[in-house]
């Protein structure tokens, strides 16, 4: 009778893994023949191992592939896996028509097309400034896939935290917030985002007051067709609670200039984007204004 110890277990596993030489295997089998308790113990391990080997692969739901395609389509805003039967002709016609109209106006008025998109003049409005103990910027990727941490191997795509990626949230299209605009960037919004991408990032310390002068910063205004309640819920989900607040019936998302582009991109599909310039005492800070249906950007008199 043998007490099964660690050495025996190692030989069990080596035998089952086929890692023993012919000689070792024969010796082990002979020992099993001689020792009933060892044989019983080995049978127990072999049963477990065989059950593991034979564990049938559970099949995923048949729509997993289409689910992946759908997520990529949504997160790439239609650049990949777009519906193959989507009518492209009308969109192309609209772009052409738009270009003709702009060109025509420019010819008639003698104004260069670029002038037609000049930003509005700065509007002096009072905005609540950022609290000094504001939470650090959200490190998550705009498309919800966390980037690898600095110490990760190049090939290791390791999400940066245990937090669930925001993309695991329900698709806003099917969210309780109701019908949203199509996942298509408005042309003006895309142009602004392209311009922003080529703008050098600021190195100004965040939250540091500018002595003696107010700065003019750029805010982003997105007019959505949502109710305030739905918009607030959606915004908190996408941008996080610490970034989101409500001011006079408008949802405001605060962001650092260095990460404003991904922030804007998170909301760009909700409606037309405008850019406004506002005075501010804190550099390196920008705001995204998400306007519910029927609400406009605050005027000077508000």
């Amino acid at each position: 009778m043998t007490d099964v110890n660690e050495a025996h277990l190692e030989r069990f596993f080596a035998y089952l893994d086929g890692e023993l030489s012919d000689e070792e295997r024969s010796a082990f089998e002979a020992e099993l023949e001689r020792d009933a308790s060892l044989r019983a113990e080995f049978a127990s391990f072999r049963a477990t191992m065989e059950a593991l080997h034979e564990a049938a692969h559970d099949e995923p739901a048949p729509d997993l592939t289409s689910g992946v395609q759908s997520r990529i389509r949504r997160r790439s805003r239609g650049r990949f896996f777009a519906a193959k039967n989507a009518p492209r002709f009308p969109l192309e016609m609209l772009v052409l028509l738009f270009a003709l109209v702009v060109g025509g106006i420019a010819l008639v008025t003698g104004t260069g097309p670029a002038r037609l998109f000049d930003l509005p003049a700065p509007s002096p409005i009072d905005l609540p400034e950022r609290a000094p103990d504001r939470a650090p910027a959200d490190p998550r990727d705009p498309d919800g896939i966390p980037d690898a941490p600095a110490n990760a191997p190049a090939e290791a795509v390791v999400p940066s935290s245990g937090e669930r990626p925001p993309t695991a949230l329900p698709d806003p299209v099917i969210d309780e917030s109701g019908t949203l605009a199509p996942h298509v960037l408005h042309e003006e919004g895309q142009a602004l985002l392209d311009e922003l991408a080529s703008t050098p990032r600021t190195s100004a310390p965040l939250g540091a007051p500018v002595a003696g002068a107010r700065r003019i910063e750029t805010d982003w205004v997105i007019s959505t067709g949502l109710s305030l309640e739905a918009l607030e819920t959606l915004t908190r989900r996408r941008a996080g609670r610490q970034r989101t607040s409500v001011h006079d019936g408008r949802v405001v998302v605060e962001g650092d200039l260095v990460d404003v582009r991904p922030l804007v991109e998170r909301f760009a599909e909700l409606g037309p984007i405008e850019r406004v310039r506002v005075p501010r005492d804190v550099p390196g800070l920008t705001r995204i204004w998400l306007l519910p249906e029927g609400v406009s950007f605050p005027s000077e008199t508000e």
Binding site: F13, A43, A47, L52, H53, A56, R71, R75, F81, R164
Partner: protein, 193 residues
């Protein structure tokens, strides 16, 4: 691993974001990715959701794949990392729900074979072997669970597992030893007469 692993042209198509190639990749790997996530998380819905995220990450990060390892190893590495983070999330946010799942696993182990004085080798011969193993796996530590899934179910080599988990091969072997012993003990305890 998969024959697609060694096809440079296929990899080039993936890097070009060729949609047909990517769809082919998903179809080829969805079973193994889902199998890993399902056994790691113990919940079908979570596993399907996470599997989709894994492939989105593959799609997004394919440019960072240098070919130092096999493509399949890289995919499973992403899946393993996603599982780790999702488990942390679930442990933090859904502690009660996790407890409920654990209770279900206990119930599976207790019923119905546990009422019969069968030896584990007999119990595991039946149709419930898959359920018993699945339930037993859920009770292992995460480190032990992943290594036993990769080795004994996915049948990867020690080196591949070491690459996926970013640990030494010796660590894989020692974890596997403890994992197998622990799993066998958990199942065997149910059948002691």
């Amino acid at each position: 691993m998969d024959p697609l692993d060694d096809d440079p042209e296929f990899l080039a198509r993936l890097r070009r974001r060729d949609e047909a190639a990517f769809t082919e990749l998903v179809r080829a790997w969805q079973g193994r990715v889902f199998g890993l996530t399902f056994r790691m998380l113990g919940d079908r819905g979570e596993a399907e959701d996470l599997s989709q995220d894994v492939f989105v990450t593959v799609f997004k990060a394919i440019d960072t794949f240098r070919g130092d390892s096999r493509l399949g190893t890289w995919i499973l590495r992403i899946a393993t990392n996603h599982c780790h983070n999702r488990l942390k999330y679930l442990a933090r946010r859904h502690h009660k729900r996790k407890k409920d799942i654990d209770d279900v696993h206990e119930a599976i182990l207790d019923h119905p074979l546990g009422q019969v004085p069968l030896g584990p080798e007999r119990a595991l011969e039946g149709a419930q072997a898959g359920a018993l193993v699945h339930a037993g796996l859920q009770q292992l530590d995460e480190d032990h669970r992943v290594v036993i899934i990769l080795r004994d179910i996915e049948q990867l080599s020690y080196q591949e597992i070491a690459d996926i988990l970013d640990v030494a091969e010796g660590t894989v072997k020692s974890r596997l030893f403890r994992a197998r012993t622990s799993l066998r003990d958990r199942i065997a305890r149910r059948y002691e007469p």
